[in-house]
Assembly symmetry: C2
């Protein structure tokens, strides 16, 4: 595959960064994961907006305009002939001085690569969730941004997989439900589609926003509310949202079956329609 | 300079890792910073022990024996002719599948590089500390290990430098003093040398251990106790410990002067003697 790296398109085996890059040394960067459908990155403007706000917060200069990044992404998709794929966009602070100080690190690294969309299985995607022993800190000003310092999410997912589950449910340091290792959490309560407020430690997910929009457009009521794990177990249905895989129904939580809600299917169908809108 | 990378010694400009390396993508790795004095990494065994325990916890296989890493480090110091330097040892999970799952990532990356020791200034090193707005989460099982997911430390240091200070004092989510962005915190109270217990969110620093040993050997009483920032302001002296720079006296905390304690100087001198023990 071809990788975009700092303004150039390079073959995978030559796509490398300096070991002095602070992304590699310190997780000092940001990323976005974007679904590419019909050759176009879905909701790319929102992803780039989050990246841009994160770069402002971290004081990393974005060395390309958002328009240029969109153009580079289009070229990358064409060069790889991957109109159905998952785009990973990474921005790091680049090479700097020794240690934590950001002073002097003025040449950021921008990288984009594509992964093919996972093959559709015979059975529809469903996740078994397990509650993680790792906790999301609250309050955390960094929670609003998708940094590359993701060891907590990596370890939470590894713990879940070691238990035979697909994904980790993460609580915050106040014992409230926050998110999953790789997505936002939704549940159905008395016909309402609920998710947690972002100040519970949830990343403000782009797919989370899309799902809230969809609910409004198809007449489903929504609510953002704090929830404990015990109450989540009483939900009429649970699903996870993320950009790579979209709407993922949850089949079980901590080995207890979760009811199947027709509303979850309805949202998943509407999401896929939106993803494919205007494409063959 | 020459860099050690996965068993080879390569020139700096060819020392690069794949953009698919999870160290770069997700901060999925560990590191150690080690002072090299008289050609020998100081307390290397303890650093390697912490790295090794971290690798077990993160389920990253260390692809070399600790003895081999020690031998490689010796060669690296010789090849660079840097007997006075700071060694950065990095271990990442290497290339894996897309996303957080660690499954299939079986070829870790090991990298070592050297920085010259900062030149000795005319005036002795002293730090101005400022209390960070970022908080260390407690409890956090990851706090015992030095992962490469260090965006919180980077941002805390950046905030401190933006305020004209040298370093950030970090409180934990319980409002207790935890550590600094790049070191452990000590203070003097009624002649006792105090630091916080590691379960306050402090990294179990190697230099912290060395300082506790030194105190015992020169007859200074020590204590590990929880402290709030207000109480820290009443200390008879404050210092920070870290492997790169050793014992660093604190001149001020939040713009208020910190008393100069002769005990801090005594510890700094003893630390340097230990560092130089057996060297010319």
């Amino acid at each position: 595959v071809i990788v975009f790296l700092d303004g150039r398109f390079v073959p995978e085996d030559r796509a490398s960064v300096s070991v002095f890059d602070r992304g590699f040394l310190l997780g000092d960067g940001l990323f976005e994961t974007v679904r590419v459908a019909g050759g176009r990155p879905f909701r790319f403007a929102q992803h780039l907006d989050r990246l841009s706000r994160g770069a402002d917060f971290l004081k990393i200069r974005l060395p390309f305009s958002l328009k240029d990044i969109q153009e580079f992404a289009t070229q990358l998709i064409e060069q790889n002939q991957l109109p159905e794929s998952i785009l990973r966009l990474t921005l790091t602070r680049g090479v700097g001085k020794r240690g934590y100080s950001i002073l002097g690190a003025t040449e950021p690294t921008v990288m984009m690569l594509l992964h093919p969309v996972p093959e559709v299985m015979d059975e529809p995607l469903q996740w078994e969730l397990t509650t993680s022993s790792f906790r999301i800190p609250v309050p955390d000003p960094l929670a609003a941004f998708k940094t590359t310092s993701k060891i907590l999410n990596v370890m939470a997912r590894a713990e879940a997989e070691a238990r035979g589950a697909d994904e980790a449910l993460l609580l915050n340091t106040n014992d409230e439900v926050a998110e999953t290792a790789g997505g936002n959490i939704f549940w159905v309560d008395q016909g309402k589609i609920c998710t947690v407020p972002t100040d519970c430690g949830a990343l403000p997910g782009i797919t989370r926003e899309v799902v809230l929009e969809i609910c409004h457009s198809i007449g489903l009521k929504t609510d953002k509310r704090v929830i404990k794990r015990k109450q989540l177990r009483d939900a009429e249905g649970i699903f996870v949202t993320q950009s790579a895989l979209g709407v993922i129904p949850v089949a079980s939580l901590d080995n207890l079956p979760v009811p199947v809600s027709p509303l979850v299917d309805q949202i998943a169908v509407a999401y896929n329609e939106l993803l494919w809108q205007g494409h063959a």
